[in-house]
């Protein structure tokens, strides 16, 4: 992949992230799996650019932001800032680099220390880095307060005396104090009311122009991202699913997940009729991600094995649901207590798999081959165990989506999408979708 594909078309990169992985250790003493919060993310942010990272909660977007700033211990990968590898910096270099990269936090109530006055809060970064003389610092703080739309007289006030929006301004002033080039904005407006939100977004836009800042905006609110960002990356389960220029990405999303996400936003205009895709279920736990593509458990565009071509749309929905139930049971059966219960035969409350099957497939017609596979799985579940039955179903109905991790595919100039459907042998997501409608 060439650099031009990853970065904004014509800007030189200020931050570039390569194969970043951040795992959290398991809390179990032995045999725990780590949480793969960020799992191999690469992108670049051009100087003066705003790159948005969107995704649902738990997708790892905040961890990504913190990893870029070296606030988390990174397991693998590199973060280059202005050509320097940030992950290699020693203590002293790190401290001086810290001035260049700042962060704005989500929750205005916990972002600033409430036992300090506004002046002390904004001043502290200056104190830490020994910036100028005492009176220089005072002047700078007063100036900063005015820059973010507060008043110099607020120096001796406490955060308690301010509203959420104003506290957020204090946080921004503090981030600006060491004259950074790069700011990670972690959901800067999601805790604020709409009318306040707009003001903060305007402020951030103004500051960027004035001070030539580079932003990485982390958000779950896609309309905010659309308004502010030049480029957007969509995250799911620790991976970047799609990356591209904002408008293009919003207008014609390539990745199935992006499409689903975009279609889920309720539009504040009832006249706009949306072609809605409602996803099933909730995102899998990053501790126990699915094999293959992370989105494969919920993907409505999933590639289906050719031998079951005859199964219709409704049939597939039921099959996927059946598999989800079995997966869920298999995961629970791993527990010690449940295992014990099963062995003792106490676990009679849950419906037998047979009944689940009858409920799900009673009113749909499946081709003989598919039905045979399902029946076999039911029998296996009863004889050997749910885990074995799950494996059987994986063999029968699984596809490349569940076995191989998709690569980044360039879908247009400066755009990347991570989906098997971009491979030549499969239909592109948009073709597929029009087919099935």
């Amino acid at each position: 992949m060439s650099d031009s594909e990853r970065s904004g078309a014509d800007r030189d990169p200020l931050v570039s992230v390569e194969g970043l992985r951040t795992y959290y250790a398991s809390e179990r003493l032995i045999g725990g799996k780590p949480v793969k919060a960020v799992d191999g993310v690469s992108f670049e942010i051009g100087r003066g650019e705003t790159v948005g990272i969107v995704g649902e909660s738990g997708c790892g977007k905040t961890t990504l932001g913190r990893s870029v700033l070296r606030l988390e211990d990174v397991d693998a990968g590199r973060v280059y800032f202005d050509g320097r590898d940030v992950t290699e910096l020693g203590r002293r270099e790190l401290k001086s680099w810290r001035q260049d990269a700042q962060m704005v936090y989500q929750n205005p109530n916990t972002a600033v220390n409430e036992r300090m006055t506004v002046g002390q809060i904004v001043r502290e970064p200056l104190d830490v880095h020994g910036w100028g003389t005492d009176s220089d610092r005072r002047d700078r703080v007063a100036e900063l307060l005015e820059t973010v739309g507060l008043e110099a007289e607020h120096y001796h006030r406490y955060p308690h005396q301010f509203s959420g929006g104003q506290r957020q301004r204090i946080g921004i002033a503090r981030a600006l104090a060491p004259e950074p080039e790069f700011i990670v904005l972690d959901e800067p407006v999601s805790a604020l009311d709409v009318s306040v939100q707009a003001k903060i977004l305007n402020l951030l836009t103004d500051l960027q122009e004035e001070l030539n800042l580079t932003y990485m905006l982390i958000a779950h609110d896609l309309s905010v991202v659309r308004h502010v960002c030049d480029r957007v990356g969509v995250m799911y389960l620790g991976k970047l699913m799609e990356l591209g220029p904002t408008e293009e990405l919003f207008r014609s999303p390539s990745n199935p997940y992006t499409r689903a996400l975009l279609s889920a936003i309720p539009h504040a205009d009832p006249t706009v009729s949306q072609d809605r895709i409602t996803l099933r279920g909730s995102p899998p736990s990053p501790r126990d991600p699915p094999t293959g593509c992370g989105f494969s458990t919920r993907c409505p565009f999933k590639i289906r094995p050719t031998e079951h071509d005859a199964v219709d749309e409704e049939g597939w929905t039921r099959i996927e649901e059946f598999r989800a139930v079995l997966r869920d049971r298999a995961r629970n059966a791993d527990g010690f207590v449940d295992g014990l219960k099963r062995r003792l035969g106490v676990d009679d409350r849950a419906t037998p798999i047979r009944e689940v099957r009858d409920d799900l497939f009673g009113d749909v017609s499946l081709p003989e081959a598919a039905r045979e596979r399902i029946d076999r799985a039911v029998a296996t579940a009863a004889e050997e165990g749910v885990t074995e039955a799950t494996e059987l179903l994986d063999d029968a109905f699984g596809s490349v989506c569940e076995t191989e991790v998709p690569d980044d595919h360039p879908t247009a100039a400066g755009r990347l999408s991570r989906c098997h459907r971009h491979r030549d042998e499969y239909e592109e997501p948009d073709e597929y979708r029009t087919d099935t409608r």
């Binding site: 913190r66 700033l69 606030l71 020693g90 203590r91 790190l94 401290k95 001086s96 810290r98 001035q99 990269a101 700042q102 962060m103 936090y105 989500q106 929750n107 916990t110 972002a111 600033v112 220390n113 409430e114 036992r115 300090m116 006055t117 809060i121 502290e124 970064p125 830490v128 880095h129 001796h156 006030r157 406490y158 308690h160 005396q161 946080g171 503090r174 981030a175 104090a177 060491p178």
Partner: protein, 528 residues
Amino acid sequence: MAAGAVSVGTAVAAATGPTATWVRGALASRGPAGVAVVGLSVLLAWLVGVVVAARVGSERVEAATAALPPRLRRPAERVGLGGVVLVGCWLAVRFGAADAVHAVGETALAAVRPIADLPTLTARETVPNRGYQLPDGTWRGTFLGLSPAVAWGVRVLLIHLYVLAWAAWVWVGYLLFRAHYRRADWTPRDDAVRRLRGHRWGQFGLVVVGLFLTMALFAPSLGTTTAEQNLYSPFSHTIQYYDPDLGRVTEILVGNANSQTRSVGYAAENLGPGSYDRFGRFHPFGTLTNGKDLFTFLVHGARVSLVVGLLSVGASTVVATAFALLSAYYRGVADLILVVTSDTVMGVPRLLLLILLTVLLADTPLAGLYDGGVLLALVLAATGWPFLWRAFRGPSLQIAERDWVDAARNYGQSPLGIMRLHMLPYLVGYLLIYSSLVLGGVILAIAGLSFLGLGVTPPTPEWGRAVDMGREYVATESWHISLIPGAMVTLVVIGFNAVGDALRDVVDPQSDSGATDPSETESRGGGV
């Protein structure tokens, strides 16, 4: 700067030789203990170095350690700096710097002493209550010839008025400062003060604690007689009284007088609250089984309780706070080690550990300080910090999660700076709450130990010992010996608990009660 580096370099070089020999010797001769000693010295040097480096600015030392690999540079600097400081201290002690300091101190004291010796309004000498009554009913030697009870009452009143005046002055001063001099027009503390103004239960506690503090601080003036004369060395002091048999004023040793004023359970030999003995001495709370004045015993006992309590609570609070900050900031292994350590200390029931340690250490030099008070305080602190640490750990962990801590890390604030600026201020509230609760518990524990005959050694007064003395007389004429001190312990403990409760409501009204659990047990000092 260069000179500084050179001097540090030479100092390090000079220190290396003998140090190496010493280390080798220590390791060879003492085995594991030697290793521990060396490790501890390095740790101590490091700690001192951290503190010094924060003051001095570390650039000067950098030159000396430039040759080391970067990972080792910083610890080496710290140890080196600390070593230099320690060696300096040792040299100073060795060559008599201490004497010089002592001399300076003495001179300074000598200058101040005359001022301190000026008569004060609340002093015993200004309002004397000791005298004798002539057959005509008049009193000699007392303040304005009033009866000792009234004279003593006047003095007690004066002392309390004096304290009240001070409190009022502080309060008014604070209000003035707030209104006119403070630059912030509002601080979070204002809200706490406002909430306290509506907190009746807390105010009750403050009054009780205030009375207790007054009692301890003004013990020499409050007592009807001096501790020296009545409690410590009664056979080296005499008093005058009018002997009706002889018909004249006679002198008697206080010890001999005491032996005739005992309270041992029956009407003939009992001096209850508010009575005069035959030597014209007034006993507001009656006398003890050995004839000593109970009130004087109690006010001085309050002093002992307070000193020991403050010492132990102070020490354990400092340790617990430091550990709480460390475990919350670094988590992981640091936290786990502390959890296991504190669990171990808490694993031995506290009162048993107290009994064990006070008995074990009773013959060490430590036990001589303040009649065993210092030892008791140290033992209480050593057994008490885990409870406080447990109480502080939760809030510290919560605070360490806050975004502002993260932000401080992000703009390069040092761990110590973060702990001091961004975590400690939030702990201060909890610190006050638990300290006051714990102080109540410690006072209970001290009383319990002295009830068992441990801890503070006689004749130093301690409330628990009075309760013990009066044990057999509770249901007799001499009920006061046990009941009054016990009631006072109860009241003071309730007072401190009330202050703690009030602080909890006042400092953080939304605080979740998860933090209340340890306090409930802690405030009792190990089941006394």
